[in-house]
């Protein structure tokens, strides 16, 4: 059977393609800021947005985008304040979001299966309008994530430097937060709100294993995300499995394959690194090696005065102090 003959499969593939490109693109910046779970938090908050849409009879995607963006900006504000209990504040926001969503969906008189289609995705039943919304929003996110990559990279790498370079750090931080919120909402129909963070983070973790540079990581993560998304939809077109879960599992399988390769590559890199200067050099990095030969090892009764020095003992030898360091002595 030719699956591409079915409109719903073509629509699903189109939505998967754009989601698979956009989610890792934004995910790269989240991982760079060590905020890998921010996508998950925004997903929780978006549940309330979906419920508001169902309750008021407007488009759930629209309300989800608005609520998720507000939540993401709020997370960014809490993060910027740098409070010690920032993670607790984030947790309050996350669980408030999901609890509010479940409550409102109950009030709207919707069944659990409606909620499920948002929590775990329902890409096979995506409507033509939803496909165009998905494609449009994802294209904007990809354009910004790739086009502004020098700015976004610098802001995430070193905020103080970015500020002195004249970049509007707050603008770019909020931009990443809003891009993440839009991506979460876009991926809501593909992988679902509970699994969206996986599509944002797992491809990045995979490409990190092999890439040495930021741009390579970004591009490879987008490639991995696209392959996983399209693969998941194709598999679930033949086999009766949930597409969202299949997409995430394919991405995880990619990570499982890449990880040992990454370990090997890093080991080879370390082997290729030149050895530290031998003790023959007098200046060995930041310490000075004692030049004279030692006929004996300094010890408790070698006749040299022992002086405690931090975590070790120095021995006074001809007016200077020797500290044991591996097979030789350092001047202290």
């Amino acid at each position: 059977m030719n699956i591409l003959g079915h409109d719903f499969v073509v629509r699903a593939l189109l939505a998967a393609l754009f989601t698979g490109l956009a989610a890792p693109a934004v995910g790269t910046y989240l991982v760079q800021r060590r905020l890998a779970l921010m996508g998950d938090g925004i997903g929780h908050i978006a549940v309330t947005g979906v419920a508001l849409g169902l309750l008021t009879g407007t488009s759930p995607i629209l309300t989800a985008v608005i609520v998720a963006a507000l939540g993401a900006v709020l997370i960014e504000v809490i993060r910027e304040q740098g409070r010690a209990n920032g993670d607790v504040a984030l947790a309050l926001l996350f669980y408030g979001g999901i609890a509010g969503g479940v409550l409102l969906i109950g009030l709207a008189g919707q069944s659990a299966s409606t909620l499920n289609s948002y929590l775990f995705g329902s890409i096979m039943s995506i409507s033509p309008t939803d496909v165009w919304v998905t494609v449009g929003l994802a294209a904007v996110v990809v354009f910004l994530a790739v086009g502004l990559s020098p700015q976004l990279f610098t802001v995430a790498q070193d905020q103080e430097f970015a500020k002195v370079a004249g970049l509007n750090v707050r603008f770019y931080n909020v931009l990443v937060a809003v891009m993440a919120a839009v991506t979460v909402t876009v991926a809501m129909r593909t992988v679902g709100l509970l699994l969206v963070s996986a599509l944002m983070v797992v491809p990045v973790a995979t490409s990190q294993q092999l890439a040495r540079g930021f741009r390579a990581t970004l591009v490879a993560a987008m490639a991995v995300g696209t392959v996983a998304s399209l693969g998941g939809v194709l598999v679930s077109a033949y086999v009766p499995v949930a597409p969202g879960a299949t997409i995430v599992l394919i991405a995880l399988a990619g990570f499982t394959l890449a990880w040992p390769v990454g370990v090997l590559l890093r080991r080879r890199q370390r082997m290729k690194a030149p050895f530290a200067p031998t003790p023959g050099d007098l200046t060995d990095g930041d310490h000075t090696v004692v030049p004279e030969e030692h006929a004996h090892e300094h010890g408790e009764d070698c006749g040299h005065l022992a002086v405690p020095h931090g975590d070790h003992v120095d021995y006074v030898h001809d007016g200077h102090r020797h500290a044991p360091h591996g097979s030789h002595y350092d001047e202290h």
């Binding site: 995430a156 004249g166 970049l167 930021f214 002086v307």
Partner: protein
Amino acid sequence: MPVNDSSVVAEIRDGNVSLGGRPVLRGIDLTVRKGEVVALLGANGSGKSTLVRTLMGLVPVSRGGVSLFGTPLDRFRDWRRIGFVPQRVSATSGVPASVWEVVSSGRLSRRPALRPLRKADRTAIREAIAAVGLTERAQDGCSTLSGGQQQRALIARALAGEPDLFVLDEPTAGVDLQSQQAFADALGRLIEKGVTIVLVAHELGPMAELVDRTVVMRDGRIAYDGPPLASAQELDLHGFVDHGYHHPELQARQSDHTPTVASPVDVPTGREPRP
């Protein structure tokens, strides 16, 4: 002195800074002129780092004013003239980044958004990497570099912007001697080009001979501002280290710019001999 004096590169007048309600800088008056190489010295917590962060607009003043190149800080937009090396321990983040990519962010102040790198940008980045001796590592990930090499990459990032004022916050802290020398050589070439340098340092090391003005910070105030001091003893002679300690137990405390002069039998200060 008039603010519109074109030789004034950075100026802070009656600068007061509080962090979390605690005064950190008090009544700071500092004028840096074109071509000067100023070393900011002082013990930990004396406010030297806060002073450069205030000059860069990263910390707001509670009283007084800061201006860069004759423009008050809140109206200053010409950030391309400034190269800043913040105090930090590593150049890595959650995602791998190559040396070339980190250094290329130094061009952002000269690049419009959404435009590719121009030829001049690439040349400046390549030259900045060469100036700190990392050409062979340019495509390697920053996480594979040693601490000293990472610090050199951050310095190259500031160099890439071809700044007129170069501000470095403890650039050689924790950097091996070899890297310190490479770094001092790079600074020397900048000075020849007429770049103004403000340098926060714990120890000057190989950079000492480049400095032509020393500012010593003490408890949030400027304790000394003048020609470089040959030694801490000279600092004592000028009476800048006050001897009337209210806390006699602090008397033995070594200030960070005092070289350790002790007999080999002395137990290093601050450490109790083990029983």
